[in-house]
């Protein structure tokens, strides 16, 4: 294909997206569109399955049977969401095994927030309330993104996730209204998860490399800073309702802007964690790689059995 022809196809392609048409797997697409989507969708999928680990850490210690089943179901949903997203990614011509390989070798990234340890039960509340809260703000606009399989996966994810944040908030509410010890546990969790949750919405617009292109392809509807402001504005009143204090001395309602002003985010910490030096990066990767490697003989056995069964069936037909 000549350069001109490609340019022409690209123009038609961009015009389709601008008209809100969906792109489907077999449609022609610019190589950059494919690559960007593989990167974002897989990063999203990786975040779901690595995200299972910090919460999985408390399944065996959940304080009541009701909490235990809710947490199990939530972590299971994350596996499901990872699966939907990997499937969407696979329609772009890359296999799940290749995507795992990228994760396990550190080539692919996942949400940095899952590199923080879950140290008390209240962390289950804080993660559901704050981390899922921030995730929902990010995800809802994606239900309308330009790539059909991604948009469909997100519709399913958002529908199922509606219980996750409520589950977390309910845990926080119970703790906040509980004994002084419980309330302290809740406050401590808010203190530890607040800033990482703000960071989770991505670097400031000035430093974000992908925003403009992502906006055009509807991978993003709002900038990181806009999303962060939205998150803060909706979460602070919830903290008030819980009777907990957001750990930011500079946090103040601004009558003029109609938003909360907030303090400086420690971006050095953010980049440290992104680059692999957070408190739990190593442990998370060790667990993922371990599960995959220890499962190899199981996956091989299932394939070998399927082959044998197929051959036996063929023999019967011949007979």
């Amino acid at each position: 294909m000549s350069e001109n022809e490609v340019k022409n196809l690209e123009d038609i392609f961009e015009a389709r997206i601008a008209r809100d048409e969906k792109i489907e797997p077999k449609d022609w697409m610019p190589e950059k569109y494919r690559k960007t989507h593989i990167r974002q969708i897989s990063q999203h999928a990786h975040s779901e399955i690595v995200g299972m680990l910090p919460e999985g850490n408390w399944i065996s210690r959940a304080p009541s049977l009701r909490r235990k089943v809710a947490l199990l179901a939530k972590v299971q949903d994350e596996a499901g969401h990872g699966l939907y997203l990997y499937s969407a990614c696979e329609t772009l011509g890359i296999s799940r095994d290749e995507l795992y390989e990228q994760l396990h070798t550190g080539k692919a990234k996942y949400s940095s927030i899952f590199n923080y340890p879950t140290v008390t039960w209240a962390d289950m509340g804080a993660i559901g309330w704050l981390v899922d809260g921030a995730a929902i703000i990010n995800q809802v606009p994606l239900c309308n993104t330009s790539y059909g399989p991604y948009a469909r996966a997100m519709v399913r994810v958002c529908k199922e996730e509606s219980f996750h944040q409520r589950q977390g908030f309910e845990i926080m509410l119970k703790l906040a209204n509980g004994t002084p010890e419980q309330k302290e546990m809740a406050q401590d969790a808010l203190n530890r998860w607040w800033w990482p949750s703000l960071m989770m919405l991505g670097p400031t617009d000035a430093e974000s490399v992908h925003t403009a292109q992502s906006m055009k392809w509807k991978l993003k509807r709002k900038t990181n800073d806009e999303l962060r402001q939205q998150f803060i504005d909706q979460t602070v009143p919830q903290a008030d309702l819980l009777g907990l204090t957001v750990p930011d001395p500079d946090l103040k309602w601004n009558e003029k802007t109609g938003h909360y002003d907030f303090g400086e985010i420690d971006w050095d910490e953010f980049w440290q964690v992104v680059k692999g030096y957070g408190p739990s990066n190593k442990k998370r990767m060790k667990d993922r790689v371990g599960a995959w490697e220890e499962g190899a003989w199981v996956r091989d056995a299932a394939m070998a059995y399927a082959d044998k069964k197929e051959k036996r069936k063929d023999l019967k037909h011949v007979g």
Binding site: M52, L53, R66, V69, A79, A291, V298, A304
Partner: protein, 252 residues
């Protein structure tokens, strides 16, 4: 308590599901594939659902007005848990996980089919609901036994080792406690001694299909039903009871 035997009988049934559910819960996020992970969690959730029904019923029977499903689940001493030794065995590898599940599912399915006819309406109702869940567990675990047994050389060896190791916990499934006998006499409990032959036939058929050897043990382990557990049990409970023990008398 007016009906101590019934209470103990319910705990005997429920503790198996509780401890097996707990073991499966430990695996969430660590399965050999995403699909298998999700399946294992489903089984765990089924078991915990059953546990809640049983314990809610037991709490009603208890003389202790403050008894709830959670005090029964989390606040007993190790010697008061009545589960069989089989379900507390560790998640050594996926082979052990599947074999433990398979050996328990076969029993659980036969047991629930009988419990559906219990004179105790609550138990019969729980059994009626659970039997559908457990039919699926049995389907899932026996399919995996076939895959691992008749898969690769490595999987065959691994799963055979698990069968040989865990086989000695099967006989205990059919031991009858005092509560069991009292409940059988009242038409509430299941006469498990009648299930034993069918159980071994059911299990052996799948093993043979899976090209696995059926062990011919002379010796079996027992004691779980009397609260004499393996050394694993203390660790399971310290995990499971951690919150309730560390922060007594709080709501979560």
């Amino acid at each position: 308590m007016k009906n101590q035997h019934l209470y103990n009988y319910i705990l005997g049934i429920a503790d198996n599901s509780l401890i097996l559910g707990q073991r499966l819960g430990e695996l969430c996020g660590h399965g050999p594939s995403l699909e298998t992970d999700i399946a294992g969690t489903n089984i765990s959730l089924d078991l915990f659902g059953q546990v809640r029904s049983y314990f809610q019923y037991a709490a009603q029977l208890s003389d202790d007005n403050s008894a709830t499903e959670d005090t029964i689940a989390f606040l007993r001493l190790e010697r008061q848990y009545k589960n069989v030794l089989l379900v507390e065995q560790p998640n050594t590898d996926f082979g052990y996980v599947i074999v433990r599940q398979f050996l328990f599912d076969a029993y659980h399915l036969l047991f629930l089919r009988e419990l559906e006819n219990s004179k105790d309406e609550t138990l019969a109702a729980i059994a009626k609901k659970s039997v559908k869940e457990v039919s699926y567990h049995w389907r899932f675990s026996s399919d995996w036994i076939r895959r691992l047994g008749d898969g690769t050389q490595e999987s065959h060896e691994r799963v055979q080792e698990a069968i040989t190791d865990l086989w000695m916990y099967t006989d205990e499934l059919f031991h009858q406690t005092e509560a069991d006998q009292a409940m059988i006499a009242e038409g509430i409990g299941v006469n498990t001694s009648k299930l034993k032959d069918i159980y071994y036939k059911m299990v052996s058929e799948v093993l043979e299909e899976a090209t696995l050897e059926v062990p011919e043990n002379k010796y079996f382990h027992k004691g779980g039903k009397q609260g004499i557990h393996s050394e694993h049990m203390g660790y399971i409970l310290s995990d499971m009871q951690y919150m309730q023990r560390t922060y007594p008398n709080m709501e979560w």
